[in-house]
């Protein structure tokens, strides 16, 4: 039972971690809580269903399932990244110089818009994801691990490794870190901060798309409202690890996933959705810089 919950928690946690990365990267660069980030994840879940359904209608899934899945994956990431890119250009870029709370309120507007956009175009009822691997998997010593769980944990792990390499090795990754440290300084040394911000949104949205797709495969059901709670949970994960801190977001996501599934099993499953909020509040009140964050004194 305990180890079963650990596996479930790890699965859930790696999804939270993927979404949390988007929050933390954007916050690191813009100091903006991108409230609409959870909706990109929701779009990812829907797009996965829609595109896979399209390939099924074309007969591609019947012909070759892996190719259909890979194509679905690529297209979903492409569309979500485009939505993220557009969102930044439309709703946040005009507000760069505005008071700090304006972009946050704008982000809430985007979030409501996207939720209702999907509700109107796709209907308010749950959508079913065509079963890909069902509940198949392997069992040892009472613990059942499905292939989907294995896939989610491995894919998330791989993506996070890739992201880490991208940020620490590549030129663009280094420019991202420079912009996060000091926008003006980065601009002075010739970095195009607008491009870097766009790239950050594109990467973050791509990660959320992967998370969305994997969750719809895992649960088999999606709804237009899943973005809000997943978004809050992932944000909590980002805060837990110290917002702006990329390894922190990964760690925070997995920790939150474990807390949720163990809490649901051993404390109360009715209040499962409240755990993230309680943790969010506690961490912000006690150590707002997160588990790994550094203290800083305000400039006067």
């Amino acid at each position: 039972m305990f180890f079963q919950q650990i596996i479930n928690g790890l699965t859930l946690g790696s999804v939270y971690a993927l979404i949390a990365l988007g929050y933390t990267m954007v916050y690191g660069i813009l100091e903006l809580i991108n409230f609409a980030h959870g909706e990109i994840y929701m779009l990812g879940a829907y797009l996965g269903i829609i595109i896979l359904g399209f390939f099924t209608a074309l007969g591609l899934t019947a012909y070759n399932m892996p190719i259909a899945l890979v194509l679905t994956f690529i297209l979903t990431v492409f569309f979500c990244a485009s939505y993220g890119f557009t969102m930044e250009k439309l709703a946040y870029k005009p507000l760069r110089q505005a008071p700090k709370l304006s972009p946050l309120i704008s982000a809430i507007g985007v979030s409501i818009f996207l939720q209702n956009y999907v509700m109107i175009t796709q209907g308010a009822t749950d959508k079913v994801f065509p079963s890909v691997a069902g509940n198949e998997g392997f069992t040892f010593a009472d613990i059942h691990i499905t292939y989907i769980q294995v896939a989610i944990i491995t894919v998330s792990g791989l993506i996070m490794l890739l992201l880490h390499a991208f940020i620490s090795r590549t030129r663009t990754g280094k420019a991202m870190r420079a912009v996060a440290q000091d926008k003006n300084m980065a601009a002075l040394v010739g970095i195009n901060t607008d491009n870097i911000i766009s790239i950050t949104f594109i990467i973050g949205s791509g990660l959320a798309a992967v998370a969305g797709m994997m969750v719809s495969v895992y649960y088999g059901l999606v709804n237009y409202s899943i973005g809000y709670s997943a978004g809050i949970k992932a944000f909590t994960a980002a805060v837990l690890g110290g917002i702006g801190n990329i390894p922190g977001a990964m760690f925070g996501g997995i920790l939150l996933g474990l807390i949720e599934s163990l809490g649901a099993a051993y404390i109360s499953s009715e209040y499962k959705d409240a755990y993230a909020f309680v943790i969010l509040i506690l961490i912000l009140l006690v150590k707002p810089t997160g588990l790994f964050g550094k203290e800083s004194e305000e400039k006067i």
Partner: protein, 376 residues
């Protein structure tokens, strides 16, 4: 004119194509094509119109400014609002009165949130929690202990104010968006608790059978009498909030919003005045909750979701953060508009979301929040 078109054309094509592409997976090729055509034509019309109608916009702006000037800065505007409001039940039937009662409750809520967000600059994303606590306290005091309207109301308001203090006290050290997130968390925890604490709140089934208010033994069951009751509280809220705003307390709130460091350098106890603002806001939100419970005679957690918090916040920013008259108009618009446009109810929240974004970009001070210097 030709050069002008050639310069704008590619941009219009790109924007329309891009939007159509984003829309494609959700509604298919045909709808995406229609969207492309529609957007392209709309963009052309807008470019031409904005080129031709610059003077028109300027006139509109002048009219808007004059309209704002027509709302007198002193208490005379209260009379302007009250006189037509008093005669409303003489002319209109139940449906309009029903909407008016709802508008009144939302005006109180929006005015309350305006104290916290507009005056003091503390973004609260879980304001609905206070509304919910007020409504549930009232409902429970009434249905479990049999307290009447006039004894349950003050008790519920006191409970809500106290809850506001307890929630806010530890959180107020936080700044800006972190505080906003914590308030959102509180709001959600309150809703989840109401939903799951079946033995006390009857969970998702809600509480029914709440008594309507009575006045010296006469039950105010008629809609028009309830309307006057709400109107009384709206006027009371406006007067009290205006007076507090124009006192040293209001000045301290605004100073904290403008520059907390300078405010504390001038001797203002920042935590204490933020607590005043939150509990003052909670007081009125609790009152609105009682009115809501007494009006509906049934409440359930569904009425107190995050979307409700966003709706109240939208009323405040639509009218203009910090402007009392503006906030009243904002609340009336957001209650009345969806009622007037019943047929497109489905698009209500879609429009609200887009509207909030547009407002932040083009008119962050709201429709009626004129120049920022406050009048005193």
């Amino acid at each position: 004119m030709n050069g002008f078109f050639i310069k704008r054309m590619p941009k219009a094509v790109i924007i329309s194509l891009w939007s159509a592409l984003l829309f494609l997976p959700f509604k298919g090729l045909q709808a995406a094509g229609l969207l492309f055509l529609f957007l392209f034509l709309a963009l052309l019309v807008i470019t031409v119109a904005s080129r031709l109608s610059g003077p028109l916009f300027r006139t509109a702006e002048v009219i808007r400014k004059n309209a704002a000037g027509l709302i007198p800065g002193d208490s005379r505007y209260l009379l302007l609002l009250i006189l037509p409001a008093l005669t409303l039940p003489l002319f209109f039937r139940n449906y309009i009165l029903d909407v008016a009662v709802l508008a009144g409750i939302y005006i109180i809520l929006a005015l309350a949130l305006n104290v916290v967000v507009g005056f003091t600059g503390l973004l609260n994303l879980g304001f609905v929690a206070y509304y919910a606590i007020g409504a549930y306290s009232f409902a429970l005091l009434n249905t479990r202990l049999g307290l009447g309207f006039w004894s349950a109301l003050p008790l519920s308001v006191i409970i809500t104010t106290a809850a506001g203090l307890v929630f806010a006290a530890p959180a107020l050290r936080l700044k800006g968006d972190y505080l906003a997130l914590v308030t959102l968390g509180f709001g959600e925890i309150v809703r989840i608790t109401l939903n799951n604490w079946d033995s006390f709140t009857k969970g998702p089934n809600g509480i029914s059978g709440i008594d309507p208010p009575s006045f010296f033994g006469i039950t105010l069951a008629a809609l028009s009498s309830f309307y006057y009751l709400v109107l009384f509280f709206v006027v009371l809220a406006v007067i009290v909030i205006r007076r507090v705003h124009a006192s040293k307390i209001g000045r301290a709130w605004i100073a904290l919003r403008e520059d907390e460091i300078a405010a504390s350098a001038m001797g203002i106890r920042s935590i204490r005045y933020k607590l005043y603002a939150v509990s003052f806001g909670a007081f009125w939100a609790g009152l609105a909750g009682c009115l809501f419970a007494a009006k509906m005679r049934f409440i359930s957690p569904e009425s107190f979701t995050f979307m409700e918090s966003v709706l109240i916040l939208s009323m405040v920013i639509l009218g203009g953060l910090g402007s009392i008259a503006g906030v009243i108009i904002g609340a009336v618009i957001l209650v009345a508009l969806p009622e007037a446009l019943r047929d497109i109810q489905m698009y209500r929240m879609l429009a609200l979301g887009a509207g909030v974004v547009l407002l932040m970009i083009f008119r962050p001070q709201g429709l009626f929040g004129g120049s920022s210097a406050s009048r005193s």
